[in-house]
């Protein structure tokens, strides 16, 4: 059924005017009519909480769902560094256009220009909004907002709240949401997980959920549904994502006809604490700011087992400084990550499992003194010591890259609508703004932009066309059948009666995806993964063990469905990576590199968004292409030498 047409619906006109013109041209819903519309918002991270609160303020009836016990638990809370905005408060030459330019370039020219421009435009409103809500951003002594430079940007445009920016922004959105709950404008359903998206006559009409406390399966109907359900980094099993982060909502939407785009664009963050053994459940990120004062090195010799302090200068390889003299230890995330992988693969890794590189503060300590270094990074050093029992003031930190963010996601048009009418995707769940690589401090910006300032307008435009139409009742056969399918699925998992836990299969799948579709990919490996993943999935379906019942709390049951979706997604990631015969941003194909080992894009053939259409279980997805047009920023080779 290849009748899908990818219409990005990008407005006409100069890029500076597109969003304003579009806002003017969109249909409005008059205040008295807004309450006749029901909007379902799934997920309560930055995008979801912001959208739910704002739509409710506007007067729509909002029903909001999260599988957590409280909206405040969403994983946006863990973001450390900051949020970008083109305020130019530092008078250092920043502008909306520069933020737009940096983001398109940082994304290695694989993002849609119009969306990125709008993101840069509304970035300034986000900061105003958050301050008004009481987000305690860092201040200077005069009382003005402080900024820092972040992630290799040449201007200081990052706003931050200590190392807890994500937490503070999420609490701001959560509090705005709770106010709307108190006013009766948002109906909040915690502990409620989406298990299916329901369509009627091709249009999204609602969702089916399972209450993870009681096991109750229930339908909800709405005029529009917004998926704000985050990224899929846990496909790798070990990642910096939270334990419960999963792709299920996006994936079930994909199976109902929403195209899934750029699955192979995953970001690997260079500074995480290396895994210590098989039992490790997740990886912990150490803020990138550490690279400002830490020097990265490994021993020159292979299998050098001396402690760091007994390796003399001449036996150390400061490989980033050697390879990238101008950026040195501050090289962008994808480049720093790959360089670490190269030295570890060579056998020069450090630590008990030889799976890390040193991040050494000794030179900064002798230059700045212990006090200054501790003032800057003390809280991070404490966190590191809690996990590793090593004090970075005395012994160099050990770091290694880990999966951190996924740029791919549900394909959306300029209005953030998926290919299913009435179904939207916001925040990390969509593919739209970061191209093949996301810049530091831009994830929080995008989540809040979508939630506060984009979706509330574009959803209204869609709803205006539905005036006079009620919601499809949940007694309709489309809901009854979808609920039954969810119950059948649950019963099936409970009756497999195998021997291994869902966790076991998630870990095994993660190893395959990481080995063949991680930091570096090649044709042979990807083809191997595409034969091994289905084989492992078959074993999983026959041999997984889910104990307990469908009623009440059953964490294995929650997990097994998520793992099943990760199997399908892992396969798509490999298929997408195999299709994309070029290297760009977070996608590195070893066959496509320059003589000195940098990513080599192929703009002639691959300047497109790869959006995949589901064709049913066991059948490969069909690729659809949205050509990318660069009218403002001319694609160039990124160089950080």
């Amino acid at each position: 059924m290849s009748n899908v047409v990818l219409d990005s619906k990008v407005p006409e006109g100069p890029i500076q005017d597109r969003w304003d013109n579009h806002k003017f041209n969109m249909k409005l819903v008059n205040p008295a009519n807004k309450r006749k519309f029901t909007v379902l918002v799934v997920g309560t991270g930055l995008a979801g909480a912001a959208a739910a609160a704002t739509l409710a303020e506007l007067g729509y009836q909002v029903k909001c769902f999260t599988f957590h016990d409280s909206p405040r638990r969403a994983h946006s809370i863990a973001a450390q560094g900051g949020i970008n905005a083109a305020k130019n408060y530092k008078n250092d030459g920043d502008s909306v256009y520069r933020l737009f330019y940096d983001t398109v370039k940082g994304g290695d020219f694989r993002a849609r220009e119009s969306n990125v421009y709008r993101l840069a435009q509304v970035s300034v409103n986000i900061i105003d909004q958050c301050v008004a809500q009481g987000v305690p951003f860092a201040r200077e002594y005069g009382g003005l907002l402080d900024n820092r430079s972040f992630g290799g940007a040449q201007v200081s445009r990052t706003f931050y709240a200590r190392g807890q920016t994500g937490q503070q922004l999420l609490l701001g959105a959560y509090q705005a949401l709770m106010q709307q709950v108190s006013l009766g404008r948002v109906e909040l359903h915690t502990k409620t997980e989406l298990l299916d998206v329901v369509k009627k006559d091709g249009v999204a009409v609602g969702i089916v959920t399972r209450n993870v406390t009681t096991g109750e399966v229930q339908s909800w109907s709405g005029h529009a549904t917004l998926l704000c359900t985050g990224g899929y980094g846990n496909a790798f099993y070990l990642s910096t994502n939270a334990m419960n982060s999963n792709v299920t909502a996006a994936w079930r939407a994909h199976k109902k006809g929403a195209l899934f785009a750029n699955a192979c664009y995953t970001q690997i963050h260079p500074t995480c604490i290396p895994a210590s053994d098989e039992s490790q459940s997740k990886l912990t990120l150490m803020s990138e700011s550490l690279r400002n004062d830490g020097r990265i090195w490994v021993p020159k010799k292979f299998d050098d087992n001396r402690p760091a302090d007994q390796i003399p200068e001449e036996d150390r390889d400061y490989y980033l400084e050697r390879k990238y003299p101008s950026y040195g230890n501050l090289a962008p995330r994808d480049i720093a990550s790959r360089a670490a992988k190269v030295v570890c693969d060579e056998g020069r890794g450090v630590g008990p499992l030889k799976n890390g590189v040193y991040l050494d503060f000794s030179e900064s300590i002798s230059r700045l003194g212990e006090t200054t270094v501790f003032e800057r990074y003390g809280n991070l050093f404490d966190m590191y010591e809690r996990i590793t029992d090593e004090n970075p003031m005395k012994v160099p930190m050990r770091i290694y890259p880990a999966s951190h963010y996924t740029m791919g996601g549900l394909w959306v048009d300029y209005n953030l609508m998926t290919t299913v009418p009435g179904l939207y995707a916001l925040g990390e769940a969509n593919f739209s703004d970061h191209g093949a690589n996301r810049l530091g401090a831009s994830a929080l910006m995008q989540g809040l932009a979508d939630g506060y300032f984009v979706a509330p307008y574009t959803v209204g435009d869609y709803l205006a066309g539905l005036l006079g139409q009620g919601v499809v009742p949940t007694s309709d056969p489309v809901f009854v059948e979808a609920e039954q399918a969810v119950r059948d699925e649950t019963r099936r998992w409970l009756s497999v009666g195998g021997t291994k836990s869902p966790e076991y299969y998630h870990r095994e799948l993660g190893k395959l995806v990481w080995d063949y579709c991680g930091m570096a990919r090649d044709k042979n490996g990807l083809e191997k993964a595409l034969s091994e993943i289905p084989a492992l999935r078959e074993e999983f379906q026959k041999n997984v063990r889910v104990l307990g019942s469908a009623e009440g709390v059953n964490q294995s049951l929650e997990k097994v469905g998520r793992v099943a979706d990760f199997f399908d997604l892992g396969e798509l990631m490999c298929r997408d990576a195999l299709m994309r015969e070029e290297s760009c941003g977070g996608h590195f194909r070893v066959e496509h590199q320059t003589d000195d080992g940098e990513a080599q894009r192929n703009d002639e053939e691959f300047s497109f968004v790869g959006a995949w259409e589901w064709n049913g279980d066991g059948t490969a997805q069909t690729l659809h292409k949205e050509q990318l047009v660069f009218e403002n920023v001319k694609p160039t080779q990124r160089s950080y030498k």
Binding site: A50, R72, A132, G134, P136, S182, Q280, G552
Partner: protein
């Protein structure tokens, strides 16, 4: 190392519950406490027994989802540390470790080690916000906030809502949580117009669920973010003031 675990198992909120004993073998220093429980659970599943239910999510000490009473201490023996950030090197071979859910009337047990903390959401819903509908905000730098005020607000805003303060309190009081949210908002210029209404509404909602504060100070000892009880003093002062301020505003309605 090998540990003996005494774990609270409770099927449902109405079940009486009981301790069960498990052996945790091959425990390594580098494992986090929850990874040790993960391993116990995998063994239970392979043996055909239902795994222990416990809550966790970010496992970096920021989401506030996890929280266990470990040998009678909320989040265990290490100060300023959530359960997920506690590592097994803090225990020794052969030790018996008792693991219970948060014990507080306001946090009913859902199953095993998982509790219902929705009372915290009810407190925030009662007034833990600054009314600022999207779109109406003025330029962020038009509001000057002295650095010490911003820093103090941030100290309070660091609360992760885990509930350790309630679990550690002999009275099961919710004062530290409530006062941290109040201090965050009441210390900022943006929070002034709703200050006394917010204080009265949040404190009175808190009292529907939680016990009273009698200054044991256990909460600040247990708090993984080391939020000080000074904020409780500030809350009490604002609450007293609110009783006067709000009477005036509402035309002596009470």
């Amino acid at each position: 190392m090998q540990l003996t675990l005494k774990v609270w198992r409770q099927d449902s909120p109405t079940d009486a519950g009981h301790f069960e004993t498990y052996q945790a073998t091959d425990v390594k220093d580098e494992m986090s406490f929850l990874e040790m429980l993960d391993a116990v659970n995998e063994n239970l599943i392979e043996a055909g027994r239902e795994p222990i239910v416990f809550d966790s999510d970010c496992r970096e000490g920021i989401c506030g989802t996890c929280g266990l009473m470990i040998n009678g201490q909320a989040h265990g023996p290490q100060k300023g540390t959530t359960t997920c950030q506690l590592h097994m090197r803090k225990f020794h071979d052969g030790e018996t470790v008792t693991i219970e859910p948060w014990r507080a009337a306001a946090f009913p047990v859902v199953k095993d080690l998982m509790v219902d903390r929705s009372a915290f959401d009810a407190i925030v819903q009662a007034g833990g916000f600054i009314t600022a509908d999207t779109g109406a905000a003025r330029d962020a730098n038009e509001i000057l906030i002295p650095k010490p005020a911003a820093d103090a607000a941030m100290d309070a805003a660091g609360c992760i809502g885990c509930g350790a303060c309630v679990a550690a309190c002999p009275n099961g009081a919710g004062q530290l949580f409530t006062s941290a949210k109040l201090a965050h908002l009441n210390l900022l210029p943006q929070g002034q117009s709703e200050r006394y209404k917010r204080t009265e509404d949040m404190v009175e909602t808190m009292e529907l669920f939680f016990g009273s504060c009698t200054n044991y100070g256990e909460c600040q000892e247990a708090c993984p973010k080391e939020i000080p009880i000074d904020f409780i003093a500030m809350m009490n002062r604002d609450f007293l003031k609110s009783k006067l301020a709000n009477r005036k505003l509402s035309g002596q309605k009470h």
